[in-house]
Amino acid sequence: MLIVCLLKGVPAKTTQVVTVSGVLKREEMELVLNPHDVKVLEAAYYVKRTMGGKIVGISMGPEPKIAPIMNDLYQPVEESRFVPHVSYEGLDERIILSDRKMAGADTWATSYTLACGIKRYLENHHRAVDMLLESVKTKPAQEAYADAEKLYSENMLPNYIFSKLPTLRNSLMARYLAGEVGKEEVVSELERHKQALNKFIILAGMKTSDGETGNTGPQTAEALSQMLGRLVPSIAFVKDFEISPETGHVIAVRKVGGVIQKLRTTLPCLLTIEAHYEPRVPSASYQKTVRANRYAGKMKKTLVWDAEYIGADPQKIGFAGSPTIVGPGYEIGKPPTQKFVGETLVFKKDFEKFEWNGKSYGPFKRGDNVNNLPEELVKKLKEEQAVGVFTLEDLFEEVLGGLKVVARAV
């Protein structure tokens, strides 16, 4: 079973954020794994232990910035600057989607790009099985076995088709080589495997700590649905889920629209994993199947795929493919007037417009700040106790004294 994790590099510190006219310049900041993606890795590891298969992490971003994250996802790292602690065995495969043309993407273009990457990943596996089918059909068993061995070493075939594990001596190709199964049986078994490849699961974080949208998961499912010509459902904010090795069904629990929903879906599907998710303990009774469904093992090298390799339409990726444009940002404004207890000078009573030294002042209301008045006048008003320092009592009176029962539409 193919277990796909969508991962993202986010700025290590929000203070490091560099933008040029609203577009994030990721290449100029150090990136770390999105903290919400930890739950994705835990969920993926649960699925792998329950079903077998392999975990691939896919991330879109500038290769130099994503590579350190991916390196630390190969296996658990005690102290990593890029990846927090996760209880798992690391990722079997890691792919970076990196291309200048992908820069400046909004969630639509990001999802399109990720879906292209997933589609290519699936196609690569389909192609591997097709190659083996072809060699089983046209070549002697020994040569087909050698081809299978090569594909196995590239992590493209699960143990039950080919294996070098001593516990899995009776893989399909081993039995074929030994003459225990015929060509027809091998062909139909490989056809079945091709179908099973379509029963993948995609896991994504509920959101990222930088963009905070949570759009990419559901949108990637939609993009992939369109590319594959079949619906890949998405379930967002999954708090708990179970996957059944018998039926291949996923049962997920999530909160939505005032209710807790318990949902059942078949594969393929995409889940976004909520922050409170805790993985279940995989059942021990399927360990043999799990082993048979596993692959050779982890691939050390992180793959880097560009737009052309994943067959992405240049008009649909990066800034060019993004329907939204980020305009200029601005600061959240300061309130117009501020009063500090024990500091700010305020009027202690109402004043009509008045003359002083030939100039007119006012009107003032009780509580108004005393600003830009001549020092002499302030001194005089202070003596008359008409102005004074803002006190706690003044504050209570002003803030709480004026409160009435205001009917709010509820």
Partner: protein, 361 residues
Amino acid sequence: MSLEQYRDVWAYCVKEDDHITRPSREILAAARKVADQLEQDVVAVLVGYGLNGAVDDAIAHGADKVVYADEPWLKSYQCLPYTRVICEMVEKLKPYAFLFVADELGRDLSPRVAYRLNTGLATDNINLAVEDYYYGPTNTTYKKIIAQIRPDFATRVAKIYTPRHRPQIASIRPGNFDPLPPDPTRRGQKIRFTPQPHEEDFVVQVLEETPVPKSTVDLEGAQVVVSLGLGILRDGRGNPRNPREGYELGSKLVELIREKLGVKAELGATRALIYAELKELEGLITSERQVGQTGKTVAPEVYIAVGISGSVQHRVGMIRSKKIVAINNDPQAPIFQLAHYGVKADLYEVLPKMIEYLEKR
């Protein structure tokens, strides 16, 4: 398809009992704001079963029209069937803009809808405006498009535009618009859609639905919110204090405001205080009281920040409060930059005085 053919501002409303939810009423108010500037209509969109009361409630809260699909097979919310129905409505009636609530349902649904309609989605907005937008690279001015305003992840807000695609889809954070006062005499056009179910949309089955127990904490509806931060752990001299004391002072204050002033008041808290998981506050300060980016957005008449430094994440949750009072003994605390009233003193001295003031009333 020319962009000029797209008209009206839609708001995706969610039914609750025989009316629509409060956040739905808020986005109707948001839709009203931009529709009036555009001289277009506000259209409420409802999908579900048993919608009569909700349809009328949407009209009373500012919708000029309601487009709805009322079918037994739409009773439970499900992403795929709802996405299909909504996309069919959009393709037929071509709205100019489309608003969703940025809650779990809106975040599950709106991304798929936006992707399928091949248009942009601006998430988590706190405000909307109608503007002319000049776009340099193509030297084009897009007239009267919607500026979708959301908190930026630094110290700012950013405007997101969807200039070349329709509808312009935006989700709105709850708590940023006041619902319009209900007007039961308002009349509106009701347009019923009768979609057909598609089998493949039901690949996800709802096995069970349990209502989430209603929270007794109503932060969004409160006129006064007293929020506590990590500052309650120390007094003005820097000596440790049992946070329970701070909690009790805060609760007492809330209680007195309710009792003496007759207004709705609630106790809030910062994320930092809640996630500190202090033994002394166990069961007292829970996440339903959290104000801020990942909690609730509040806009009360008076917001009293007690021992809160004022992080950006907290700010976005309370910046719309009419009067902000900050009590903090650190004169450098950023909260003082946005407070209308500042008390740079020990909260363990200020709160008892405030309580005393109210007790005398």
